[in-house]
Structure formats: C-alpha cells, structure tokens
Symmetry: C2
Subunit: 406 residues, 2 copies
C-alpha cells in the first residue's frame, strides 16, 4: 500500500492535539497547477490522518519543518517505514504497540548492536494524538540520547475524530482502537554515532553491505598476477559461503590508502594478501574494531575449510563485541540519582540520570529549562523496592531516565 | 542515494524549456513551519534540477498537478524509479539513453508480456529540457496508447544551466552530457489494461506475487481433513520448487466464490483438489487466461516429479500466450496510412495509424486538434523503401505512429 503525501489541512485539524503538536512543523502546499488552492495541503509529516485502511504499512518520505538540521538525525525531509493498525479493543491495541517496540528493540540489539533502552514516554513527550508512546532510547558516542524508534497506542483519538467504526459481535458500531509506529533514516545516524570513531564508520557485520574487504599487496610487476589470482579465489570462496565480500584490486591506490579508505567506510574485516602470503597459502586478517597490531592475525590458511569458519566466527565476534562495548559505555554513563542536585550534577557531566519520578509536567519542563535534559523514558526494566521522587519527595512507583538528546 | 523532494523555485527556472514545460504541473510549498517562505519550494516533479551527482538513481515519489486523474495512469503523486547519468561526450550520453530504453523494452516484453513499440518522440512530444526523448508505447485493451517509460538525452542543456563541468584529458573544463530515464507506477496500470478482462486482473506469471492458488473442495466434514492435508502437501511441493503458491483454506467461502475471487486477482494458475482427486492422487489445473472448460485439465498427478514440471511449463506457456495475444491485438489494430484522410479514418475507428511523416510542429498540432491523436513515436523499426509524407507529400525518411493516448 501507498498513501498520498498531500493531506488536506482539514484532515490534520480533526484530531485537536495532533494538529497542535504538528502545526509548527508543517510544510504547506498553497499553489497547485499555477492556481491558489482553496484548501491548503499539508506535506505528510506522518500518516495518521492520511489513510483510511484498518491496517497499513509503507516506506515513505515525510516532511517536518526544521530550522536546525543535522544529517540523518534531524532533516526537513526523511525516509521511514510507518505502520498503522486498528483493533477491536484497547487491550489488543496495547499489545500491538508493545509488540512493535519489542521488534524495534530486538532489531537494535541484534542487528545494529545498539543497546537501546525501551520504555514509556512521559506525558510531555508523548506523540501528539497518542494516549501512550513507547520509545527506544540510544546513547550516542557523545552521550546524547537519540530517540531511535517509537510505537504509539492512539486509543480512540483518531477513530473518534474520523468516525472510524466497526460492527462488533453484537452488531453494535464501535470506534476502533489504533496504533502507529515507525523507525526512520535517523536510525542510520544512530548506527554511525554509536559505533563510529575518529577513523570513520564502524558498521556492525550484520548490517554491513561489505563485511570483508580484500586488499592485495604487491611491489614488483611480476608479483601482481599471482597475488591477484589468490585474492580472486579468496573472494570466490567467501562469496560462495554467503559472505558479503569486496576485492579492491585497483592499481591507482596504495595498500595503505586502501586500508584507510575501507576503515573509514566501516568494513568490519580486512583480508590482506601479499606475495609471501601466497607462498605460504595464508592471509592476514584485520579487525576494524581493534585498531593496529592487536586486531591483526597472521597466517590464516586460505583453505576454505579453515578460512570460511574463521571469517564467520570473527564477524560474529565483532558483532558481539560492538554490542558489549556499547553496553559498557552506556552503563558507565548512567548515574542513579535521588535528588534534583544529583540529577543536575550528572547532566552537567554529560551523563544520563536515572531516578524516581512522580513530578508534574511543570516540574519536567523546569528540568528541561534549567538543565537541557528531558525525560527520555520510564524504562520497562525498573529497580525493585520503595522509591521517593527526586523532585517532590513523594512516594514514586517508577524511575525515569533524564538526558540531553538530539 | 536519495535527493530531497523540495526544489528551490530558482533551480527549476535555470533551464528555460524545463520550467516552461513543467510550470503548469507544479505544486508549490509557500509556507514552512508557520512562516511564509522567502523562496517558494517546488515539490519534485522530476529530479533533473535537484541533484548534484554525476550519476544517481532513486526510487521516489514525484508530484505533478493533474486535474483529471486516473488510477495508476495519471495521478497527482506517483512513485517511480529515476536515473540520471553524466558523460564526457554526446556519443556516450546517446548510447546510455538508448541502452536504457532497451532495458525498459526488454522488461516490458519479457516480464510484463507487453509488446511495447520503442521509438523516438517528435519535437512536440520531447521532454521539457531534453534534446531527444525515447519512449516505449504500449497499446491498452481499449486501444489507447500508453507512454510506458522514457529515456532522455539531455545534451548539455542542464549542465550549461547549472555549470556542471569536468576536466577532460587535456585539463580543459567541459560541460557534461547528461541523460535521465524513468518508469513509474503507471506501468502497473499498463499491465492491468493490457491483460485484464471482464473477470478482473490477469497477471503475467513472471510478475505475479501469487502464481498458483490452491482451492481445496469438500462437502462433508469427514472429507475436509484429507483434502486439506493433500492441499497442504501440494503447497509445500510447489513452494519448495520456487513457485509462488497460496493455499486458500478458509472455510468462510465456497469454492465457487474463491474461484471468482482469485480470478479477479489475476492469479495465473488455479489448482483444485477434492475428495475424488485425493483418491486418485491427482489434481485439476485451470488457466486464468483461458476461461471455462477449455482452460481446465483433469487428472494431473500429485507426484512432485510430474506436478512441478507441469506447473512450471504451464506458467511459461501463459507468459508466452499473454505476450502473443497482446502482439496479435496490437498488430491487428495498427493501420498503415498514406494520407491524412486514411489517418483520420484509422483514428476514428479507434486504431493506431502508421505513416511517413516530415510534417511541421504545426501540422502535428493540427492533427491533435482535429483527431485527438498525437505522434506516439518514430519507431526504431522502420519499413524499407521510399516514403512520401502523408501530410505534405514531401519525401519522408521515417514513418511515425499516431494514436490517441492516456
């Protein structure tokens, strides 16, 4: 399915908090085919008000007016996948919304090696038009938080505004209960800023479009053929084994230049092969995530029965290692706080603060104003035991996570 | 790659004939983030003026203001794939433009079973900003022509407007020679209107998302299990063989209802299986493209070694048969004409007219006004021998094809 990106302004207006939330971000088409339009058209910021199917799913571009843009993270136009579902009961909608944030969490951990924290947004941060917003929050290399995906329980807000009804078992018309959820090209920025270092990208093997780059090395012209032959046969072996492999056989650039180039591109593994390796029927394997000598292993046999399992194991190791490094980094940068002073201290050090919270919306906005931090989420994983709100001193049921964010 | 869909109006204006051609079709964003914009933004009608890379390719939505829309064929917003290339010489650009129209022609014939006629557009019908436009023209079931894909040699028109230069072998700066080409969701409409009949869609097997539907048939409750078991095992056999197969095992609908439903959906082959078939370990196979009894074959063995090659052969037969039927239909509806009177006669009968042409742009526009037909193309495949222009009586080098079109 694909729904049009121009939404009549009157549709956007139907759900009151939705239009209130989105109106500062809208791009409006007012002229079409040379004529002033009678009704302005909104360039889709999201499709809650644009579709009329119970369930639909699309990959699309969306537009949100931004004055301060940042590549991948905050752009006037971005690409996303968005899903919308309708259900007979609140419980089913809630289950769907939770299931999708779980899908996104698994994707982040298992594919992108990003240890996101899933949780519920505060009222202040809830999607305009939703009853509840679930989020996955990721810690970037600069320790800012990135909202990397969201899933909303929309309740009956949109179905009441648009009179979207169904006949229940008793033949009674009921408004549907809806959800929507999305991740976007912003996630690409999340991958870059979670794993990248000063040498460039560092891509998790499961998402890398090139998992292994082969760099042949020769000095004398008479070495070239045998080295290239061996490199090509290694490429075939790995390709046949289902590994995404690239042979950089150009003779315009030196091996050193190629090393830097493919490191910058984030390729997880590099295989080097020179004349001496050809003689010994072995190769050198270097890991992108461990710079220099420590990440280099010499004398790995070219035999498929040795090389293929070795490469696959290394790719798995790198995948896991990136995740573990990111988990350690995340956990060493979250501070448990019990008072507003401790919270301010943590935030001023660039860290995330986690503490019990039953504050009001005003309290939350005050923290934002005074520290720049917002409630990223009430994490699903909560500590046991009695809690006291860091701001009000009242008994609290949950901890919230506070951080500066993109 | 992906380029933004909002193009500053001043960019569109840079190539004079481009803006002249597109300005009646533009949607303009004049308000962003609640403020009147200093410069209007055009919602991408195409990306010649939106990109700054030598070569790029994207799947995207584009917007062209249309007052009279028709699903798939002419819509205010549509999806397409667009490619843009830059070359050092006119010859290379010409070669690329021709190669792409050839790619589209092959796709139309081999995948969509649509016998398009490839050729060159007249000056009047050339893309706004191009030196030459190549097209594939398809005859729909109502005998109207559909421009199903185009490839443009843009010359240096855009590179001069945007100062897109390169350094040649002698270090001299030269303007690049460019091409662009696209097919769109309109092609989906072409498939529907080429092959469809009163019962619904008829999809060419190579493009069908379901190639075979299995409809199990039972009357008594005790027959259900054995029929469903057999149906499921047939599904597995076909699926394993790489055939896109669907088992419609719902018990909400009768077999007759399912037959109609999947015919409407255009599924090329239907397999029916009832209790007697289970006993004889055989099935009934029905072709979508041959209605009723003549398209039905009884007693095809369920043995994988028989069933799989049989189904594959039938799918190939249907693919070829759809193409041949469309070729026969097309050829019986193109009339060779030698005078304007003959042309008018052919067009008034709803046919396409093919005749020698060296008329002026004014002559061409006169034909459009008087008959509703336009020059669809000068086909690449030209008849031999001397020719006399059907309109002017002057010696002509080429025949053109005239038709009413979508």
């Amino acid at each position: 399915m694909y729904f049009p990106q121009f939404i009549p302004y009157s549709f956007i207006e139907k759900e009151a908090s939705h239009v209130e939330g989105f109106s500062p971000e809208l791009a409006l088409v007012t002229v079409g085919g040379g004529k002033e339009l009678e009704e302005k058209l909104v360039v889709r910021p999201t499709s809650e008000t644009a579709h009329f199917l119970p369930d639909f799913y699309q990959w699309a571009n969306v537009t949100r007016w931004e004055m301060r843009t940042k590549p991948f993270i905050r752009t006037l136009e971005f690409l996303w996948q968005e899903g919308h579902t309708a259900h007979a009961t609140l419980e089913e909608a809630e289950k769907e919304a939770m299931q999708m944030i779980d899908v996104y969490t698994k994707f982040a951990y298992e594919e992108a090696a990003i240890p996101v924290i899933p949780g519920r947004k505060s009222r202040v941060e809830t999607f305009a038009g939703a009853d509840k917003t679930y989020t996955i929050e990721a810690m970037m290399g600069d320790r800012k938080a990135l909202q990397a995906g969201t899933s909303h329980n929309l309740g009956q807000n949109f179905s009441r505004a648009f009179s979207t009804q169904f006949a229940d078992e008793n033949g009674q018309r009921q408004h549907v209960w809806q959800t929507s959820w999305a991740i976007s090209t912003r996630f690409v920025g999340g991958i870059i800023m979670t794993h990248g270092d000063d040498a460039g990208l560092m891509l998790p093997p499961r998402l890398a479009s090139v998992q292994v780059v082969i760099v042949p090395i020769w000095k004398k012209a008479n070495e070239k053929n045998e080295v290239l032959d061996a490199a090509l046969s290694i490429k075939d072996i790995l390709h046949t084994a289902g590994i995404k492999v690239k042979l950089d056989d150009s003779d315009q650039r030196t091996p050193g230049w190629k090393f830097n180039f493919w490191e910058m591109k984030g390729v997880p593994l590099r295989i080097e092969i020179g004349p001496r390796d050809v003689s010994s029927r072995s190769v050198v394997v270097s890991r992108r995530d461990i710079p220099g000598k420590p990440g280099k292993v010499f004398g790995i046999s070219m035999e498929p029965s040795v090389l293929v399992p070795y490469v696959k194991e290394k790719l798995d190791e790198i995948q896991l290692s990136l995740l573990n490094k990111a988990i350690a980094f995340r956990d060493s940068n979250i501070v448990d706080v019990t008072s507003y002073d401790e919270l301010k201290e943590a935030i001023s050090q660039g860290k995330w603060a986690r503490g019990p919270w039953v504050g009001s919306d005003e309290d939350e906005l005050k923290i934002k104003e005074e520290t720049g931090a917002t409630i990223r989420c009430f994490p699903f994983e909560q500590p046991q035991g009695p809690k006291t709100c860091l701001m009000t001193g009242s008994p609290a049921e949950e901890v919230a996570i506070f951080a500066k964010s993109y």
